[in-house]
């Protein structure tokens, strides 16, 4: 008997990925809180990871999963830096609302 996960077709994984990515993208567009936007980015990243893993399994090729490991490692580093930047922003302007970040306006 096949594993239950293997019974789920590749289509479903793709749809799930698309939904997750869209949630992330809309989150970026509609929310103004920098932390929430950060989370949205992570969701989009993981949507891509999910797709990679799904296709890796589908093609029975391990390369995709190696990619995902790398992605996760890079994402972890990115989160560390990103959160540090957010802390710095908060210290400077007392808020993490991105609408208040207009110092770079030309």
């Amino acid at each position: 008997m096949e594993h239950v996960l293997q019974q789920i077709g590749i289509d479903q994984y793709i749809y799930l990925s698309i939904i997750l990515f869209s949630i992330g993208a809309f989150g970026i567009l509609y929310r103004r809180n920098a932390i929430v936007m950060f989370m949205s980015i992570e969701i989009m990243l993981n949507a891509a990871n999910l797709l990679l893993v799904a296709f890796s399994n589908y093609h029975e090729d391990a390369n995709g999963q190696v990619f995902v490991f790398f992605t996760m490692a890079v994402a972890a580093a990115e989160v560390a830096i990103g959160l540090a930047i957010l802390v710095a922003i908060y210290r400077n302007i007392g808020s993490i609302d991105i609408d208040k970040l207009k110092n770079l306006k030309g």
Binding site: A25, L101, L104, G106
Partner: protein, 623 residues
């Protein structure tokens, strides 16, 4: 003849210029003036050595330093040509120049730009020497331009007065018009004869069809530099400069450059009799016109300035009649007595503290004996009383005119009779009767220091005795100039018959009558000229200088100004608008584009997502 000595003649004034120009501010006034005077005096000594040489050997010296310009078929040398004509000019430029430098050391003593003055003055002498010794037309042109520049600098020497600056600019611009004529003349001559060298030109010149244009152009150049109609109006205004400048540049040397140039090119002018005729007529007319204006001037220097124009007119009359040596003779005697008169007037102005109006003078005879005596001698000389120098030179011109054209003789005689009148008017108003100035001026009156009177005495002696160099019938000058002037037998009446003595007598009687009219008017009746606004009739025409300045203003200056403002306001604006609009388009575009960058991160992200979607759509749907 050692060429070193000849070149030293030119180099001394240049050295003086450089020393005073670079270190003058650090030198004391005494040293600065001494250097300048010694530089010219040294030139005078070498000029004398050269003169002694050429008087003996008759051999001109040509010095070529290097090849200056090379064209296809002819070259222009950077060279100098020392001949009899140059020798005469060298002598009186450096001789009178030394005296005037000496005089200036005292006259300019209180001036803050003392060393600058001597820098300019030495520089002027340097260029004047180049002008007279240049071996070709291009070299002469260097000097021609140089003396024009120095004249400009010295007229506007008291640059804080805007009127003086305007006078300087007027002189410069008027001279530029003449200089253009000089250039055209050079070009045509070079084109016709393939050389600009005086010696080569003398041998090679022939009557070419366009030669008349060239000589006419040279004559126009001469009218600019030597203040003849129609370009003379700058010279009276040039009296804005310090008086020694008027004496050196605007009476003795620079204004005779035109006569020098025409004498140098006598072989070309002899080929074009029509141009010679124009020269004679213009000379005679200028002479009479300037003499009539001088009758009513009240500024002591202006009278002398118009007198200079008038005398130069007589010289041009002689040139036009082909009597070059007579013109040269008058140049020399005129340099003596006019320099003396100008320096005398400077002495007077110095004594009254800057006053130049003769109506506020008078009676100075008692206070300034030396100035009065020298002035009196020079006045007699310029009026043509025998046996002073002016009598001989002026009479030769009149005689020449009489033999050629009776109308020109009448005009010239009238001019010389008027000369006697206005000069005695000047003399009587300045030195006779009682002093008419203020009380303070009267207390201030004094004779000038000996540094100033010494040049006056020397010049007065020369003005008295200068006629000896060319006594009718036995003329040293004519013999001396023989190698320079090609057709020198054509003009000069050597024989003195009854007619000649009669004419001489007439001229002297005319001058005497003028003297007595002036005496009756200004000494017996003690008349003082009225205000310029209260004159009428012919006198009004004279006072307003025949409205020549006004005419030039109306027909040249105002149209030019009109065109200038038209182009400035209309055409310039149009072109400016077109050019600027090219810049305005990108500027406007980027201004609009700038608005997208409003600092709102949300908007950036939105644009980013839209962009990614667009890219994806493009990649997947279009391939």
């Amino acid at each position: 003849m050692s060429t070193t000595i000849l070149l030293l003649t030119l180099i001394f004034p240049l050295v003086g210029t450089l020393i005073n120009g670079f270190w003058g501010k650090h030198l004391s006034k005494k040293v600065s003036g001494a250097i300048a005077t010694l530089a010219i005096a040294a030139s005078f000594v070498t000029s004398c050595i050269f003169f002694a040489y050429i008087q003996g050997s008759q051999e001109p010296v040509k010095v070529v330093l290097f090849e200056w310009m090379k064209f296809n078929y002819f070259t222009i040398d950077f060279g100098f040509y020392f001949d009899q004509l140059a020798a005469l000019w060298l002598l009186f430029i450096t001789g009178i120049g030394t005296l005037i430098h000496l005089y200036s050391t005292s006259y300019m003593h209180d001036d803050e730009n003392f060393s600058t003055f001597f820098t300019y003055l030495n520089f002027f002498v340097f260029f004047m020497l180049i002008l007279v010794t240049g071996s070709n037309l291009a070299m002469m042109f260097i000097g021609w331009e140089g003396v024009g520049l120095c004249s400009y600098l010295l007229i506007g020497f008291w640059y804080k007065n805007q009127d003086y600056n305007n006078a300087a600019k007027k002189a410069f611009i008027m001279n530029r018009i003449g200089d253009l004529g000089f250039l055209v003349g050079i070009f045509i001559t070079g084109y016709l004869f393939h050389t600009l060298d005086f010696v080569a030109l003398k041998e090679q010149s022939y009557l070419a069809p366009t030669l008349g244009i060239a000589t006419m152009a040279f004559f126009i150049a001469a009218t600019g530099k030597s203040a003849q109609l129609p370009l003379y109006t700058w010279l009276p205004d040039a009296m804005a400069g310090p008086t020694p400048v008027s004496a050196l540049i605007h009476a003795a040397t620079m204004v005779t450059a035109g006569i020098f140039m025409i004498t140098r090119l006598n072989f070309l002018f002899d080929l074009t009799p029509d141009v010679q005729h124009i020269i004679a007529v213009i000379g005679a007319v200028t002479s009479l016109m300037a003499a009539t204006i001088a009758l009513v001037q009240n500024d002591i220097k202006k009278v002398l300035a118009y007198s200079t124009v008038s005398q130069l007119g007589l010289m041009f009359l002689a040139l036009g009649l082909g009597a070059y040596e007579v013109a040269v003779f008058h140049v020399i005697t005129h340099a003596f007595f006019k320099a003396c008169l100008f320096l005398g007037s400077g002495s007077v102005i110095h004594a009254i503290g800057g006053e130049q109006d003769m109506r506020h003078m008078g009676g100075l005879r008692k206070y300034m004996k030396v100035t009065y005596l020298t002035f009196f001698i020079s006045t007699l000389a310029i009026s043509g009383f025998p046996p002073l120098s002016g009598f001989f030179s002026k009479d030769e011109i009149l005689l020449t005119a009489f033999h050629h054209n009776i109308v020109l003789w009448i005009i010239a005689s009238l001019a010389s009779i008027l000369t006697a009148f206005y000069m005695f008017r000047l003399l009587f108003l300045t030195f006779f009767n009682n002093f008419r100035g203020t009380k303070e001026q009267a207390d201030h009156l004094h004779e000038s220091p000996s540094v100033m009177t010494l040049p006056l005495i020397i010049l007065a002696v020369l003005a008295a005795a200068g006629g000896l160099i060319s006594i009718p019938g036995n003329s040293w000058l004519n013999e001396f100039l023989k190698p320079v002037i090609k057709n020198n037998t054509a003009s000069h009446p050597h024989v003195l018959g009854t007619t000649e003595y009669l004419l001489m007598g007439l001229a002297v009687i005319g001058a005497l009558v003028s003297l007595f009219i002036a005496y009756a008017k200004y000494i017996k009746n003690k008349q003082v000229p009225v205000n310029d606004n209260n004159v009428s009739g012919l006198q009004k025409l004279f006072v307003n200088k025949y409205y020549l300045d006004e005419i030039y203003q109306a027909i040249i200056v105002q149209p030019l100004n009109f065109f200038g403002s038209f182009f400035k306001n209309q055409i310039d604006g149009l072109i400016n608008g077109i050019v600027l609009s090219f810049g305005r388009v990108p500027s406007e575009l980027s201004y609009q584009g700038k608005k997208a960058q409003n600092g709102n991160i949300g908007l950036y992200l939105f644009a980013f997502v839209i962009g990614v979607c667009g890219l994806l759509y493009y990649l997947f749907m279009c391939y």
